[in-house]
């Protein structure tokens, strides 16, 4: 089952702390959305509001078109997969997964059959009689997923579900989560602080900072054309180039960019958008300060002659490793720059 979610004018205060500020967000039925941001940005608070664990100070939560703002967690068509999994240690996996069905009054036989089919979905069909302490971290995580899905919620809320796993397992589980979401079709809302995880998994990323939504959209759009400087920095490494808006264009040390801003500004470009092959904008000669081989690319720090105060980071082709002190001519596509006006 699946349902759309609409958040309107959400505000929440913890005492004097404004944890959520004017949150407006629509999530489509069956969409996989990640809430991405640094710790303390309000993403977990927002998830708790969706799950019914926190009642927002102001605003409305609609799930499947019905107002759920003041409905208790048990009565909502949502389930949460908690960060520490919160499995019941005294129950078998079958009973853990069947718990929600038992609460719904389903008989034992049918319940066990359903629980086993959900354990099968997460690849733990033959462990139904085990208890949680016999499992590895990754397996517990799957049980938590099966338990949350077994009640067939309209919306599944995932609170940093992969946070406790090591990097390799985390990457493997990302793919699995996404595959399972495709199979069951439930709306997934997934909280994380890892932008790679967010990009790997989400249909849409919602970038949050200091209780606000900074940007939301498909991963590629957010990465390439972030709406704010915060979103630009949080999604990956950025070169910051001081610039000045003339009202009709933007002046940078490397030439004019066709972006209409006024006053102090910063022009941003990703390291991989800087290259040594000829393009429309010439950055000019730059001295290599250091360079390191990363397998898929060479990461180099360079000091451009036109702006000797700056250090640019570039990801260059891995075929050759430039030596420190070497001079390279850098080029870029002017469309790859993003320009943000700075408030004075």
């Amino acid at each position: 089952m699946t349902a759309p979610v609409t958040l309107r004018g959400l505000n929440h205060w913890f005492g004097p702390f404004h944890a959520l500020q004017d949150i407006e967000l629509s999530i489509e039925a069956g969409e996989y959305v990640t809430l991405l941001g640094p710790s303390g940005c309000g993403k977990t608070t927002l998830l708790s509001v969706l799950g019914g664990f926190i009642e927002p100070t102001e605003g409305r939560v609609e799930i499947g078109g019905r107002d759920m703002t003041r409905v208790a967690p048990a009565k909502r068509p949502t389930t949460t997969m908690f960060q520490d999994y919160a499995l019941f240690p005294h129950m078998t996996l079958r009973d853990n997964v069947g718990f929600g069905l038992r609460m719904a009054g389903m008989g034992r036989g049918e319940r066990h059959r359903r629980a086993e089919s959900f354990l099968d979905l997460v690849g733990l069909a033959d462990a139904a009689g085990k208890r949680p302490h016999e499992l590895s971290g990754g397996q517990r995580q799957r049980v938590a997923l099966a338990r949350a899905l077994a009640v067939e919620p309209d919306v599944l809320l995932l609170d940093e579900p992969l946070g406790a796993l090591d990097l390799k397992l985390r990457r493997a589980m990302q793919d699995e989560l996404k595959a399972i979401q495709r199979k069951v079709g439930t709306t997934f809302v997934h909280v994380t602080h890892d932008q790679e995880e967010a990009m790997a998994i989400a249909d849409r990323i919602v970038v949050m900072n200091a209780g606000r939504i900074e940007d939301h959209g498909p991963p590629a759009r957010i990465y390439r054309e972030p709406a704010t400087l915060f979103a630009a920095d949080f999604m990956g490494e950025m070169n910051h180039i001081p610039a000045r808006g003339t009202g009709t264009a933007t002046e940078t040390p490397f030439g004019l960019l066709a972006r209409a801003v006024q006053g102090r500004a910063v022009a941003c470009i990703r390291p991989e958008a800087l290259g040594t092959t000829e393009a429309a904008l010439c950055i000019g000669a730059a001295i290599v300060r250091d360079a390191a081989f990363f397998g898929t690319h060479v990461r180099a720090h360079l000091v451009p002659e036109k702006a000797p105060d700056l250090t640019l980071t570039a990801h260059l082709p891995p075929a050759s490793l430039p030596a420190p002190g070497e001079s390279l001519t850098l080029w870029a596509d002017p469309d790859a720059f993003r320009v943000y006006a700075l408030e004075d």
Binding site: G51, D84, A86, L87, P89, M103, V151
Partner: protein, 255 residues
């Protein structure tokens, strides 16, 4: 030098167990006095006490009071601990303090206080009133043990259970109680042993039906007899059994 620690260890255990050992040994005395020289062994006195209707009745009463009062103390202690651990209440530190404070009050004071209240209100003394006294002394202990073992782990599991549609009673019965089972059982068995051995409160608050320690005390007034040793050994056996159950079921499983 190695001998000294061993000597100390042996001396300490002799000090602790010699009285109990002597009591048990002379319960098998064939003669009429529980003093050396030892004659026997004989089960004569055990036969006599198991045939004594008053004694066996007192033993049954003791079991009833111990199990009943411990059950009530553990239920009340659990509910108090759950409430205080899960909800923010005004003055909860004070409430916790007041719940644990009776541990510091002597049994004599508790017993006298209850006796005054009960006689004033016209409630007759019985096994029930002795049980109430034992709930008063065991509740703080049960509360302290259960409260100490409530942590974030159960709290998260409770949250998950609520999220999956469990009502408050189902959360407590299906999640919290099973997760806290070791602490709850420890509190229960400890309460049982304390109530089983308790004399002062039981003495003050019973009248016609009495518990075993009170019955033993009345027998003591007619002088020493291996009968008393035999009863004492039985009482000791029950206490040891309960403590062993506690050890095997609860503390062993934890490690």
């Amino acid at each position: 030098m190695r001998a000294l620690p061993w000597a100390y260890l042996i001396a300490a255990f002799v000090f602790i167990y010699l009285p109990v050992g002597a009591l048990v040994l002379f319960s098998f005395q064939a003669g009429g006095l529980p003093v050396p020289p030892f004659e026997g062994p004989s089960l004569r006195w055990y036969a006599e006490i198991t045939g004594d209707r008053d004694l066996m009745e007192a033993l049954g009463n003791s079991l009833l009071v111990a199990l009943g009062s411990s059950f009530v103390a553990v239920v009340l202690g659990f509910l108090a601990a759950y409430g205080l651990a899960r909800h923010v209440l005004p003055g909860s530190a004070l409430i916790r303090g007041l719940l644990i404070a009776p541990l510091t009050v002597s049994y004599l004071i508790v017993g006298l206080g209850l006796l005054i209240v009960l006689t004033r209100t016209g409630v007759g003394l019985s096994l029930v009133t002795a049980g109430i006294g034992h709930v008063v002394i065991n509740l703080p202990l049960a509360f302290a043990i259960i409260y100490a073992s409530m942590g974030a782990q159960q709290q998260n599991a409770e949250r998950a259970a609520r999220d999956l549609g469990a009502g408050e009673a189902q959360v407590i019965w299906l999640v919290t109680v099973p997760m806290l089972a070791p602490a709850i059982a420890a509190a229960f068995f400890l309460s049982v042993t304390l109530s089983w051995d308790e004399f002062i409160i039981a003495f003050l608050l019973t009248r016609f039906d009495v518990t075993l320690p009170v019955e033993i005390w009345s027998l003591l007034r007619s002088g020493l007899s291996p009968r008393l040793n035999a009863i004492g050994s039985l009482v000791f056996l029950v206490s040891v059994t309960v403590v062993l159950i506690l050890e095997i079921l609860i503390f062993r499983r934890k490690s």
